[in-house]
Symmetry: C2
Subunit: 419 residues, 2 copies
């Protein structure tokens, strides 16, 4: 199966938004082993859209459309496809009822153009939209499969993942299933990870194993084809165990996990609380943890001590220590971690200090970061990073490394960690 992704929307051509849908769908299709040879973007113009469909049909047998399913007169994707394929548009009763209820619940009257959203291509299978009003659809005609998805990513992503993808999997695998599992690693480079699992990469068939690196993290995507979900999960479990035996120390999570979400989860599971004293990151570590809903029972708070003076006056770090070792030092990071832990009465204290850039700080080159981790009454542990990115990349990396090292230290002390 060779796919083309065809996004419809003038706002893309005007540079007002980025085509993140194409990335999302491409990534999902690669899990299914479907080749994507082209992405195309065309505006809200029926003639040019139809030309783009003809071009796509000449080079793909799966065309996935995003956008143009809404209620306004600019939305003309399904109308154009209907005309192009010579099929009718018919009302889908389920979608229509859903739209009517949407308006009834809010006490608003439904305008006629909203009914239009319930029109679907005759003969298509309807894809439910649990995050908006316009349903999607999937239709196969003359050996080409057409999938129509709404434009907003929060509607498109779940619809593709949970409605369209299983159907594609069945089409591809003759009624079987395709299941993917993502292993997430930190603290190891892409090149080193690939070398260490080289034998597995070289001999992969089913499941397949695909590495991908982004934002300092590395993932391995394990994808199994089988006759049942159970069978696929068994194949995946066996391959995952093989991989873990080699590089399991670096794995922090799976699928949609993030370093921050896993850190919060581990603290919650073990009834631990945390506070942080931040210099170069200036609140970013705490803010990243606070992105996770329900963090309130583990993140008590902390301090941003951006200046030397604030470190002395607010945290009570001794001026002698700073004079002797400097602000960007192991001693300072350790003292910050201890001080904030005691001040906030938490199980764990974090201290972050360094030179984010663009210029050296405290005679330390850009990218030098010290992380201090104080666990209970133990002597704090410190880590030194030499980062090579721009100012804000360095700040974010420092936060990710903090999560990574903290989880490692907790695990080494027997605290339980879910994978």
């Amino acid at each position: 199966m060779n796919a083309e992704i065809l996004a419809v929307g003038s706002e893309l051509l005007l540079g007002q938004i980025t085509n993140t849908n194409a990335k999302f769908i491409s990534n999902q299709l690669s899990e299914l082993g479907i080749n994507v040879f082209y992405h195309t973007v065309v505006g809200d113009n029926s003639k040019r859209l139809e030309e783009a469909i003809s071009v796509a049909e000449s080079r793909a047998n799966l065309i996935i459309f995003s956008g143009g399913l809404g209620p306004t007169k600019d939305d003309l994707t399904k109308e154009t496809i209907a005309r192009h394929l010579g099929v009718d548009l018919v009302f889908d009763q389920v979608a229509l009822t859903y739209i009517e209820e949407f308006f009834a619940k809010r006490g608003r009257s439904m305008t006629e153009n909203n009914r239009k959203q319930a029109l679907v291509l005759a003969g298509s299978e309807v894809l439910a939209n649990h995050h908006g009003m316009a349903p999607g659809m999937i239709l196969t005609k003359d050996n080409c499969t057409y999938i129509l998805l709404p434009g907003p990513p929060k509607e498109l992503e779940p619809m593709f993942q949970f409605e369209a993808k299983p159907k594609l999997g069945k089409m591809l695998n003759d009624g079987g299933v395709i299941v993917s599992h993502v292993m997430r690693f930190y603290g190891i480079g892409e090149a080193e990870l690939e070398v260490r699992v080289q034998d597995i990469l070289d001999t992969q068939t089913n499941p397949t194993v695909a590495p991908l690196a982004a934002d300092g993290e590395v993932t391995l995507r394990v994808t199994a084809k089988a006759q049942s979900e159970d069978e696929a999960h068994q194949l995946i479990a066996a391959k995952v165990a093989e991989i873990r035996a080699i590089v399991g120390d670096y794995q922090y999570g799976i699928n949609d996990d993030s370093l921050a979400s896993k850190t919060v989860e581990m603290l919650q599971d073990n009834n631990l609380t945390i506070a942080a004293a931040e210099s170069l990151t200036a609140g970013l570590f705490q803010s990243e943890l606070a992105e996770i809903a329900g963090v309130g029972n583990v993140l008590i708070g902390g301090l941003v001590t951006y200046t030397e003076d604030a470190k002395v006056k607010q945290l009570g770090i001794s001026q002698q220590l700073l004079d002797a070792h400097g602000i960007v030092s192991s001693e300072c990071a350790a003292a910050m971690a201890s001080a904030v832990r005691q001040k906030f009465g938490t199980s764990i204290g974090i201290g972050l200090t360094g030179a984010a850039g663009p210029t050296a700080h405290d005679h330390q080159p850009v990218g030098t970061v010290w992380i201090g981790i104080a666990i209970g009454d133990e002597e704090p542990i410190t880590y030194l990073l030499h980062l090579s990115g721009m100012r804000n990349t360095n700040r974010l990396r420092a936060v990710k490394f903090t999560c990574h090292y903290l989880m490692q230290q907790l695990e080494a002390r027997g605290y339980k960690k879910r994978i």
Copy 2:
């Protein structure tokens, strides 16, 4: 001039990266008044690339390529175009010297494939790459203009903006220039802003005026065509003055400014220092200010007081106040702002408290936010927000509103602000 943007790179089709270059270039072309009718993405495959070029030539007379100019054998954009157009590739001496110096400076030996990067289409105008090794190029043949740009955004963006765009402007304007200026607004919705400047939008010719909304902010892009830069700037200045007379109260900056960068600039210009006490934002306000290099002389630090206990023990907010008014209240935000200002000895104190979501907090519905601003010894001012986004959108909006209201309050007290 009708343009197509043709991105080359298998990593795009695998869903490993997003095509942000297409958005950037489209946005830049819209400033020039150039229509973009299609974006296309094709992999590192010479045959499919050449087919995509033929399709593009049939529907555009300006084709802008991104990617495939690097040293590896996957990089084949210029080789494919050269063959397709029947032109030779020749070494550009300037680019070659630049690459040789790059390696010499780092004491590394240059491999042969790196020389390849200095090959350019014969007869093309070379576009210098100040952020990487591969030069870009621009060539017009048979009434079609081909622009080749490197793939990494940090190389492509400055090369397009400062090398390619002025040349396109001259081609379009018969030797004249096209200059754009972006006005940035906050605290006013897109719809309301458009209504208020409706007469200007309806009668625009030269300069043109185009509104755009994103992330809670609204911008107006003012673009003038003229025979000289001076003349263009005069046209823009007159139009900007007209717009400011109507909605100037909401303008916070221009071009690449952000609310955080303008806040830091205003604090620096007026020798003011700031500290913050954050609850729902949990360090995000301070972290956003710290994204700006050189913030160290204005951001002293602050506290994250995520729990009620931390507000009482670390900030010294009275338990009675919290019992009487709640954590998500004007009184709490004001007390947080005052307390952190006094604790850190700064000119300004900020207090942020609210219910970010996903569930109500302190009996206040999701999206309720109180901002407290304490300036000197004055009674703190507070603002109430009712935000409607998801948890982390709400947290970021709260930070942006804080910057906006702080600048307004400072301006009202006669502190100087640059636009």
